[in-house]
């Protein structure tokens, strides 16, 4: 019965749409489409001719990313090695009095957790959300960094899930040189290629720590998501 | 050049000095001025209220009157926009469609006519006062008339132009809106006057007497220390 009602609603809506669109477009609006979509879709270059600048070299990309991160109150550390990142993290962990962290049990993340010497829960295996809630920080990989906007892209494939990058109050990202993408259109093109046909259930573009302006438009960080966002770029 | 002048209803009735100033300015520049007896209105009030048939009754007369005019000049951004931008829409699909487009193309708001069509920016005027400018919405957004009035004011001797922060914000007149929703209209006018007073100017000027009528109404009632004057009157001062 429910299915029948559903099919009816679906058919009705589609019929109404087709019927509505029988009256042709108002001339002015049609002109816009001719102007921009004659070749089917806008190119990366066309969109970038509109968006803010992203830089032409790695150094420029880095500099723009850093400026954006500073404006967003995200902490950005370009470092030469994982060890340098870990040294910085030790200082942060001490200053913030971390007792428990969340991360994954493989590769550089595992190395980081071990060298930090803190109790850790590993969310790349089954875990208890109440334990995750107690964590002071989460350390994860990312899919990409975007210079143009100062964003970090994460996914539920790379992070094996959704909660680790949003529940703990401090989110730390370990990123690598080739992950710094100049612009948002290029980042989307790369993601599309990477995940074509087999999307992670979540892809999130994170730009700065969690924030709100809902109270008298006063900026407050850490509304629900992480209050602090720290990015290490190993280059 | 033979200039046909269209004097909007409220200028005819309440601000004839605006029309007189314009005639004076054009004749001094050596042009011949024509002013048809009727119609007295461009039909905007009916159009804006949704009564297009009633608007057409007046608008048709306007079109007939200006059928053979070389150029039509209107001292109002809102009436100017009505004829230039909205007449083609009002008459779309009717027997007057072509005439509407033709008249529209020969129509100018007063300041943009002076600057863009006649190429005149200095009328030898003198107005030794502090002045702030109000951008009427139709003139600003329908006719893109931001620069010409400012260019003309910059050449008036001893005039100090101080821009108010709310220069581009609607004054709240909006035609029949001012009578239908007087509480909102007046509040908007209050905000505008407050911004004008902040500049320390002695006068608010504009290309639109309708806006100025609304602002003056508030200024008089509240006994504010500022006056209103149409830009044509400033430009005619020697």
């Amino acid at each position: 019965m429910v299915e029948d009602a559903q099919m009816n609603d679906k058919s009705t809506i589609l019929t109404l749409i087709r019927h509505a669109l029988k009256t042709p477009t108002h001339a002015e609006t049609a002109k816009l489409k001719e102007k921009y979509l004659a070749s089917g879709k806008p190119s990366v270059e066309e969109i970038n001719s509109i968006l803010p600048p992203c830089g032409a070299t790695f150094e420029e990309n880095l500099s723009i990313f850093k400026k954006n991160a500073d404006d967003l109150k995200a902490d950005f550390y370009p470092v030469k090695s994982l060890d340098e990142a870990i040294e910085n993290l030790k200082k942060i962990a001490q200053a913030e009095n971390w007792k428990l962290i969340a991360t994954h049990g493989n590769g550089d993340l595992k190395t980081t957790a071990e060298k930090l010497g803190l109790p850790a829960i590993y969310t790349d295996k089954k875990y208890d959300v109440h334990e995750l809630e107690k964590c002071d920080a989460a350390i994860t990989y990312c899919d990409a960094l975007v210079a143009q906007t100062g964003s970090v892209i994460v996914s539920s494939r790379t992070n094996k899930g959704r909660a680790i990058s949003v529940l703990p109050p401090h989110h730390v990202i370990i990123a690598y040189k080739e992950q710094l993408i100049p612009s948002l259109p290029e980042a989307f093109a790369l993601l599309k290629k990477k995940y074509n046909g087999n999307l992670p259930s979540m892809i999130s573009i994170i730009t700065g720590p969690s924030r709100t302006g809902d109270i008298e438009r006063i900026l407050v960080l850490g509304a629900h998501g992480p209050k602090k966002l720290t990015i290490f770029l190993i280059a | 050049m033979k200039i046909t002048l269209f004097i909007p209803c409220y200028i005819d009735l309440c601000y004839p000095q605006v029309g007189k100033s314009i005639v004076q300015i054009f004749e001094k520049l050596g042009h011949q001025v024509e002013c048809p007896e009727s119609p007295a209105c461009c039909g905007q009030p009916a159009f804006n209220t949704g009564y297009w048939e009633e608007s057409q009754e007046t608008a048709v007369k306007v079109l007939e009157q200006f059928r053979d005019a070389e150029v039509v000049v209107i001292p109002s951004g809102s009436c100017g926009a009505m004829i230039k931008v909205f007449y083609p829409e009002l008459f779309e699909g009717s027997e007057y469609e072509e005439l509407a487009k033709s008249v529209s193309s020969r129509c100018y708001e007063f300041t943009s006519f002076l600057v863009n069509r006649l190429g005149v920016i200095d009328l030898g005027a003198r107005f030794p006062h502090k002045v702030t400018f109000h951008d009427g919405c139709h003139g600003l957004r329908e006719l893109n008339n931001k620069l010409p009035p400012r260019v003309l004011l910059s050449k008036v001797k001893d005039l100090e132009l101080i821009e108010m922060t709310a220069a581009e914000q609607c004054c709240g007149f909006g035609g029949t809106f001012s009578a239908k929703f007087p509480m909102i209209s007046t509040a908007m006018g209050d905000t505008k006057c407050a911004s004008a007073l902040e500049t320390g100017a002695e006068y608010i000027t504009s290309c639109d007497s309708s806006c100025l009528m609304h602002l003056q109404g508030i200024i008089s009632r509240r006994k504010m220390n500022i006056k209103t004057i149409h830009i044509a009157e400033i430009l005619a001062q020697q």
Binding site: S156, P200, H224 | E37, S38, E57
Partner: protein
């Protein structure tokens, strides 16, 4: 006069009188405008961006049926369940039956204007579910039992003192005048809810057809948590939100954030394509997407006003509208306020009852100027007025305009009217400002200019 129009006028009058509230709103929006202009200036070509955004949205709408079918196919391939709701009632039934089937008790919600539109919370609460708004602004107005004041900043009309009092009363928290402390109070309360919730309901900003995914924009992370922790996730989204390609978002996301919130891009922009995959350790086990019509196809049928469906709900038009700034969001008395609300409400909820919203505008055009997808907002208000004048003419007004047309077309009648007008003005002071005054709407708060001793036409005639 139509009762809804009367109520609107009452509320507008009350808003105008609330000078402190108006000052708060005006100050916030003035500061916002400065920041927004800065962010717009960062774009290499903002105007081109508006044109391309309009073209992309237009293309998506012109092929809406095909795009919706593509979207649904891809969502289902990704493991999501899709439901179609022709009306708000349908949508409420679908969501309620999912909640019932899952034996849900607690539902957390992130911001969804569509949910406000259909009064979803009310319906769910009536059926015994606890529904908690997680967006800070929505959380605050939910506690106050009010609708949102602005589509992006729901509590912008409140001071922190009012919010502190509210939290003290409802949450038994310590009073404070610091925005940060108030936010932390809400954060603590809501964390528990996210973890215990059975269902997370979200709205959606874009539905990407080629990907089969819903894009959700936010700054707080509350939608991220709503979509991460509960075992069932439901998205309610209008059918007009469809865009074709993932890459289109590279333009829309920065423009949405810049126009609506003076940010280069919002804090979290997330694509959800389905429930957790087999290689994902957490995330909802089920993902339901409810596609809502509720009058959108009617608007689509109007070849001129269908561009209003391009709306990306950024709130930019509200931020610049002098009427909105004066009367605030609640005065409109309906879900969508500001210029976009004034355009679509009479079309979607009936021109007979809601035309006053299209008349409550000075047609200044600031909204059209800022709209990132180039909706011809203020001209649509004119169109709505024309429909109102044709379908539901007010006879005395129509007659008055007819008479005025005759008078202004005839030099003789105009001349007569001028003379009578002068006489009338001499007698006017006797009734000026009183209820007998025909010009009371004007003279209550303003002075009328006198008719000149010699009108322009009289002067011109004498000259000749």
């Amino acid at each position: 006069m139509n009762p809804l129009a009367l109520e609107f006028k009452k509320r507008a009058t009350a808003s105008v009188a609330d000078v402190n509230r108006r000052k708060l709103v005006l100050t916030a929006l003035s500061k916002f405008e400065v920041k927004r202009n800065e962010k717009v200036a960062q774009f290499k070509n903002w105007q081109k961006g508006r044109e391309l955004a309009a073209a992309l949205k237009w293309d998506a709408l012109e092929n809406l049926a095909e795009n919706l079918e593509l979207l649904v196919n891809n969502l289902e391939k990704n493991g999501a369940k899709v439901h179609w709701a022709a009306t708000g009632e349908e949508a409420k039934n679908i969501i309620a039956s999912i909640a019932k089937e899952k034996n849900a008790k607690l539902i957390v919600k992130s911001k969804a204007m569509t949910a406000e539109e259909i009064h979803l919370n009310e319906a769910l609460e009536k059926q015994g579910f606890e529904v908690v708004e997680t967006d800070l602004g929505e959380f605050i107005v939910q506690l106050r039992n009010e609708p949102p004041y602005h589509i992006v900043f729901p509590a912008m009309h409140l001071t922190r003192y009012e919010i502190s009092d509210l939290f003290s009363e409802k949450l038994k928290s310590q009073p404070t005048d610091k925005a940060e402390e108030l936010t932390m109070i809400a954060r603590r309360v809501l964390r528990d809810k996210y973890i215990r919730a059975d269902i997370g309901i979200t709205g959606g900003n874009f539905a990407v057809a080629e990907l089969g995914a819903i894009s959700i924009t936010e700054n707080e992370g509350n939608a991220r948590l709503t979509a991460a922790l509960p075992r069932v996730m439901i998205t309610l989204i209008g059918i007009e939100k469809v865009v074709r390609r993932m890459e289109d978002l590279a333009l829309f996301l920065p423009m949405l954030a810049t126009a609506g919130a003076a940010q280069t891009i919002s804090g979290y922009n997330t694509l959800y394509s389905g429930p957790r995959k087999s290689d994902e350790i957490d995330g909802p086990e089920e993902y339901h997407v409810v596609l809502l019509d509720n009058g959108r196809t009617e608007l689509l049928a109007d070849p001129v006003e269908r561009d209003a469906l391009r709306c990306i709900r950024c709130g930019a038009c509200l931020n610049v509208c002098p009427i909105y700034k004066t009367i605030g969001g609640h005065a409109y008395g309906t879900t969508y306020c500001g210029p976009i609300g004034a355009v679509i409400t009479p079309r979607m909820r009936g021109i007979e009852d809601w035309q006053h919203l299209s008349y409550a505008s000075s047609l200044c055009g600031a909204c059209t100027e800022i709209c990132p997808v180039k909706i011809d907002l203020h001209h649509h208000l004119l169109k709505n007025r024309r429909i109102a004048g044709t379908k539901t003419p007010v006879w005395w007004q129509k007659t008055a305009f007819k008479i005025y047309a005759k008078i202004s077309n005839s030099p003789t009648l105009w001349s007569l009217m001028t003379k009578f007008g002068r006489l009338g003005q001499k007698l006017h002071p006797l009734i000026k400002g009183t209820k007998l005054d025909p010009a009371y709407a004007w003279t209550k708060n303003r002075d009328l200019p006198p008719i000149a001793k010699q009108t322009f036409k009289e002067w011109w005639r004498m000259r000749k």
